[in-house]
C-alpha cells in the first residue's frame, strides 16, 4: 500500500520538457503537440496563401501575364488542398490538443504516442505533395476535388505521389480523431457529465466522429484512382464498364461532411467566446448540442447538392434539394442562439469577440448563399461559377479561419502566459475584415454575371470586379503578417497574463495558472 503511494508520487512529480530538438520529435505532451500543430498550420496558411497570391495576380487583369494555364491549375489545386488539409484541419487539431484536456480536466490526451505520430506524419505528407510541383509534368492540376478521369487517365505522372500524400493525411486525421473521442469519453473530470461539457468539446467530439466516418471514404476513392491508374481497373472509366460520376458520389460523400469538419470546431470556439464577452451564459446550450448532432447526421445525406448538373433523375435532385434545405434549420438555430446570447448581455469588444461577431455575421452570409445554392434549378446557373467560390470562402475564411483567430487570441494568454497587444490585434482584425469582404463579396457579382471558376483568364466584362478582388486579396494576405508580428511580440515582450485574463470567462482552463504548466490536472478537479 505504502509503496504504491510512493510510486504514484514519483510518476506525478512535475518534470519539465526534454531539452533541444528531441523535445519536439519525441514529445507526447498535449501542449507541445498542440503548439506544433498550430505552428504547422500557420506555415501552411502562408504557403497556401502565397499560391492564392499567384492566382489573384494572374487574374488581376484579363490576359495571361504571369503563369501558364497548366501552372495556374496546379496553383488552384494546391491552394485548395493545402488550405483544407494543411491549414484549417491541423489548426483545429492543435486547438483540440491544447484545450480539450484543459477543458475537461484531464492530464493529457488519452493516446499520447498516437498523438505524436499523427502530428509527425503531416510534414512528410505535405512535403511529398509539394515536391510534385517540381516533378516532370508538374503537380496535381485537377482541382482540389480531383474529378476522374481528369485525375486518373489524363493526370500528370506525379498523381501517384498525390494519392500517397492524401493517404498519409487521412491516416493522421483518423488518429487525431480517435484520440479526441477516447479522451472525451474516458477522461472527463468527475462530475463533468456530457451535458456539462464546454461547447468546444462537444463540437470536437462530433467532428471527430465525422472524421472517423469519412476519412476512410476519401482513402477509398483515392485507392480506386490508384487502381485505375496502375492496375488496370476501370472504376471511373466508362470504356471498361465504370462510371466517372461514381467518383463524384464517393468524393462528395466524404466532401460534404468534410466541410462541416471545417466549421464545427469554429462553432465551438465562438460558443466559448461570445458568452465570455457578453458576460452571460450561452443561450440554449441543449439546443446547441442537438443542433450540432442534427447537422452532423444530415451532412451524410446532402452530398449530391454538389452534383446537380451531372444529370441525376428528377427524384434525386428533389431529394438532395430538400435535405440540403433542411440542414439550414439547425444551422439557423445556432445563429439565433449566438445572437440571443449577445442580447441583453453586457458586451465588451476585445479581439476574440470581434472575430466571433464577424464570424456570426459573415458565416450567416455564407449560409444564406448556401440556401440559394441548394435550390437545384437555380444552381444550374450558379454551379461552378464564382458565386460558389464566394459562398465557400464566406463559410471558410470568416468561418473556419476567423474562428481559429478568435481561439488563438482568446487562449494565447493561457498558452504563453503573456498578453497580446490589444491595439495591434484590433488593427489586424479590421484590416482582415476589410480585406476579406473586398476579396470575396465582389465574387458574388462576377459569379452571377457568368464567370466560371478555375479559369486563368476571363472575358472583359469581368475585368473591374476582378481587379478589386485582387486588391482585396493582397490586402487580406499581407495583413496576416501583422498576425505573425503580434505573436512574436507577445512571446517576446507581452505583459504577464493573469490566471484568468477575461473578466467573466468560465471553464476549467481558467482555474490553472498562466502560462499553463507543462503538466496540468495530474489529480482531476471536481466539477459540480
Amino acid at each position: 500500500m505504502t509503496t504504491q503511494v510512493a510510486e504514484t508520487g514519483h510518476d506525478d512529480h512535475a518534470h519539465g520538457p526534454a531539452k533541444g530538438i528531441t523535445r519536439w520529435l519525441f514529445t507526447t505532451n498535449h501542449k507541445d503537440i498542440g503548439s506544433m500543430y498550430l505552428i504547422f498550420s500557420l506555415i501552411m496558411l502562408f504557403i497556401g496563401g502565397s499560391m492564392a497570391f499567384v492566382i489573384r495576380a494572374e487574374l488581376f487583369q484579363p490576359g495571361l501575364q504571369l503563369v501558364e494555364p497548366n501552372f495556374f491549375n496546379q496553383m488552384i489545386t494546391m491552394h485548395g488542398l493545402i488550405m483544407v488539409f494543411g491549414a484549417v484541419m491541423p489548426a483545429f487539431v492543435g486547438l483540440a490538443n491544447w484545450m480539450i484536456p484543459l477543458m475537461i480536466g484531464a492530464p493529457d490526451m488519452a493516446l499520447p504516442r498516437l498523438n505524436n505520430l499523427s502530428f509527425w506524419i503531416l510534414p512528410f505528407a505535405f512535403s511529398m505533395m509539394m515536391v510534385t510541383l517540381f516533378m516532370d509534368g508538374g503537380g496535381p492540376n485537377f482541382g482540389w476535388t480531383f474529378y476522374a478521369p481528369l485525375s486518373t487517365t489524363y493526370a500528370p505522372p506525379s498523381v501517384t505521389f498525390f494519392i500517397f500524400a492524401i493517404h498519409m493525411m487521412g491516416a493522421s486525421s483518423i488518429m487525431g480523431a480517435i484520440n479526441v473521442v477516447v479522451t472525451i469519453v474516458n477522461m472527463r473530470a468527475p462530475g463533468m457529465g456530457y451535458m456539462k461539457m464546454p461547447m468546444f468539446c462537444w463540437t470536437w467530439l462530433i467532428t471527430a466522429f465525422l472524421l472517423i466516418a469519412v476519412m476512410p471514404v476519401l482513402a477509398g476513392v483515392v485507392t480506386m484512382m490508384l487502381m485505375d491508374i496502375h492496375f488496370g481497373t476501370s472504376f471511373f472509366d466508362a470504356g471498361g464498364g465504370g462510371d466517372p460520376v461514381l467518383f463524384q458520389h464517393v468524393f462528395w460523400f466524404f466532401g460534404h461532411p468534410e466541410v462541416y469538419i471545417m466549421i464545427l470546431p469554429s462553432f465551438g470556439v465562438v460558443s466559448q467566446v461570445i458568452p465570455t464577452f457578453a458576460r452571460k451564459k450561452l443561450f440554449g446550450y441543449h439546443s446547441m448540442v442537438y443542433a450540432i448532432i442534427a447537422i452532423a447526421v444530415l451532412s451524410f445525406v446532402v452530398w449530391a447538392h454538389h452534383m446537380f448538373t451531372v444529370g441525376m433523375p428528377l427524384a434525386g435532385e428533389l431529394f438532395f434539394m430538400y435535405t440540403t434545405m433542411l440542414i439550414a434549420v439547425p444551422t439557423g438555430v445556432k445563429i439565433f442562439n449566438w445572437v440571443s446570447t449577445m442580447f441583453k448581455g453586457s458586451m465588451t469588444f476585445e479581439t476574440p469577440m470581434l472575430y466571433s461577431i464577424a464570424f456570426v455575421i459573415l458565416f450567416t452570409i455564407g449560409g444564406l448563399s448556401g440556401i440559394m445554392l441548394a435550390l437545384a434549378p437555380v444552381d444550374f446557373v450558379y454551379h461552378d461559377t464564382y458565386f460558389v467560390v464566394a459562398h465557400f470562402h464566406y463559410v471558410l475564411v470568416p468561418g473556419a479561419i476567423f474562428g481559429i483567430f478568435a481561439a488563438v487570441y482568446y487562449w494565447l494568454p493561457k498558452w504563453s502566459g503573456k498578453m497580446y497587444d490589444e491595439g495591434l490585434a484590433k488593427f489586424h482584425f479590421w484590416v482582415s475584415f476589410v480585406g476579406l469582404n473586398l476579396t470575396f463579396f465582389p465574387m458574388h457579382f462576377v459569379g452571377l454575371a457568368g464567370m466560371p471558376r478555375r479559369i486563368p483568364d476571363y472575358p472583359l466584362q469581368f475585368a473591374d470586379f476582378n481587379m478589386i478582388v485582387s486588391v482585396g486579396a493582397f490586402l487580406f494576405g499581407t495583413s496576416q503578417l501583422i498576425f505573425v508580428f503580434i505573436l512574436i511580440k507577445t512571446l517576446r515582450s507581452g505583459k504577464a497574463a493573469p490566471q484568468s485574463p477575461w473578466e467573466s470567462a468560465e471553464g476549467l482552463e481558467w482555474t490553472i495558472p498562466s502560462p499553463a504548466p507543462y503538466h496540468t490536472f495530474a489529480t482531476p478537479p471536481k466539477v459540480d
Partner: protein, 372 residues
C-alpha cells in the same frame, strides 16, 4: 485641385477595363421561359435572404449598441426558453417550404421531356465543342478564335475576347431543341447563361436537356467544368435565327460538305498542303503540341524531331487517324476531312525544321478512310 485630378487619373488608369465593363452584378433573365423562371426564383430567394439578414443583423447590431458594458448594461441571466427555441425552428422551416414550392415547380419545368423538333449531340473535346445535328448530316467543331496575341497582351483585346468561335451553333428560335451531351475525354460542362442551361458532358454517358429560345441573337457561354489546361479557352457561341434563316443555313452546310468532298480529288501541291496544314494544325493541334511543335513533355510529346514525324508516313498517319486511347490524343480520322488530315500530316513532317520532304495526298487518306 490639380493634385486631386492627378490622383483620380492614376486611379482611373488602374481600371483600364472601365471602358469595356458593365459592372454587371446580377444573373441575366435570359431568353427562354425556363431561364426567366429560374431568374424569378433567384430573385425571390435573394429577397427572402435579404429580409432574414436584416432581422438577424438588426437584432445583433441593436444589442451590440445598447447592451454594451461601456453604456452600463447589466447582463440579464436568461439562457433558455423552449417556446422561443421551438418558434425559431418552426418559422425557418415554414420559410424553407415556401421557397421549395416554386423551386420544385421550376425544377420539374427543366425536366420537360416532350417531343423535340431538333436534336443536337454536343460532344466535349479537350478543348473544343462538337455539334452534330442528328439526322441532318451537319457535324462540325467549334473552336475558339481569339488570337494568342490578344491572350498574351501583345494586341488590343476585342470586345468578344475569349467568347468567340470559328463556327457558332446555329439554332432556330421558337423550336424545341434537345441537346444530348457527352464527352470524348474528360468531363466538361456546357453552359450558356442566357439559356440558364448548364449540363455536364461526361465520357461514356449521355445527358439530356432541352431549350426553346424566344429571341434571335447571339448568346455566349463557356465550359464550366475544369477539363485541363485550356479549360478557360473553350467558349460556346449560339446564333439564334428565324426558322427560314435556319433552313438556309442547313442547306449551306450541306453544300459545303459536297465541296469538301470534291476538293480531296484534286491534286494538291506541297505549298498548298503546307499552307492548309498550318491552318489546321493551329486550330486543332497547337493547344497540346504547341505552335512550334515542341509540345509540353512529358504529357504532350514534341512533334519537332519526333521519331514518328520523321519516320514512315504510314505510322504518322495512323496515330493521327486513330489517336491513342486514354490520352489527350484523340482519333482525328473522324474529326477532320481527308484534305485536312493530309495537310496536317504533311505540315508536321515539314515544319519547324522537320524536313522529311514527303507529302500525303487527300486521295490516299480517302482510301484509308474508306478502308476503316
Amino acid at each position: 485641385m490639380l493634385q486631386n485630378v492627378r490622383i483620380l487619373s492614376v486611379l482611373l488608369a488602374f481600371f483600364p477595363a472601365l471602358a469595356w465593363s458593365e459592372w454587371e452584378v446580377n444573373m441575366t433573365r435570359g431568353v427562354t421561359d425556363t431561364s426567366a423562371a429560374i431568374y424569378d426564383l433567384h430573385m425571390i430567394v435573394f429577397y427572402i435572404c435579404v429580409v432574414i439578414s436584416i432581422v438577424v443583423f438588426g437584432v445583433m447590431f441593436w444589442s451590440m449598441y445598447h447592451h454594451r458594458k461601456s453604456k452600463g448594461a447589466e447582463p440579464h441571466p436568461f439562457h433558455e426558453s423552449s417556446t422561443i427555441e421551438i418558434l425559431w425552428t418552426i418559422v425557418p422551416l415554414i420559410i424553407l417550404i415556401v421557397i421549395l414550392v416554386p423551386a420544385t415547380k421550376t425544377l420539374i419545368q427543366t425536366y420537360d421531356t416532350a417531343e423535340s423538333d431538333i436534336d443536337i449531340q454536343v460532344t466535349g473535346y479537350q478543348w473544343k465543342w462538337r455539334y452534330k445535328y442528328i439526322g441532318q448530316d451537319v457535324d462540325f467543331f467549334s473552336v475558339i478564335t481569339t488570337p494568342s496575341d490578344e491572350i498574351y497582351n501583345k494586341a488590343e483585346k476585342n470586345p468578344n475576347y475569349l467568347l468567340e468561335v470559328d463556327r457558332p451553333l446555329v439554332l432556330p428560335i421558337n423550336k424545341k431543341i434537345r441537346f444530348l451531351f457527352t464527352s470524348n475525354d474528360v468531363i466538361h460542362a456546357w453552359w450558356v447563361p442566357a439559356l440558364a442551361l448548364k449540363k455536364d458532358a461526361i465520357p461514356g454517358f449521355i445527358n439530356e436537356s432541352s431549350t426553346k429560345i424566344n429571341e434571335p441573337g447571339i448568346y455566349r457561354g463557356q465550359c464550366a467544368e475544369l477539363c485541363g489546361k485550356d479549360h478557360g479557352f473553350m467558349p460556346i457561341v449560339i446564333k439564334a435565327v428565324t426558322e427560314s434563316e435556319y433552313v438556309a443555313w442547313v442547306a449551306e452546310q450541306k453544300a459545303l460538305k459536297q465541296k469538301e468532298a470534291s476538293a480531296s480529288q484534286k491534286d494538291w501541291s506541297m505549298e498548298e498542303l503546307m499552307a492548309k496544314g498550318e491552318e489546321v494544325y493551329n486550330k486543332n493541334c497547337s493547344a497540346c503540341h504547341q505552335p512550334t511543335g515542341v509540345g509540353l513533355p512529358p504529357v504532350f510529346p514534341a512533334l519537332k524531331d519526333s521519331p514518328i514525324a520523321l519516320g514512315p508516313i504510314q505510322d504518322h498517319m495512323d496515330i493521327v487517324f486513330s489517336g491513342k486511347a486514354g490520352t489527350g490524343m484523340s482519333a482525328y480520322g473522324e474529326q477532320l476531312s481527308a484534305v485536312e488530315l493530309a495537310a496536317v500530316v504533311t505540315y508536321e513532317r515539314n515544319a519547324w525544321g522537320n524536313n522529311v520532304g514527303d507529302k500525303l495526298l487527300p486521295a490516299d487518306v480517302e482510301k484509308l478512310k474508306g478502308g476503316k
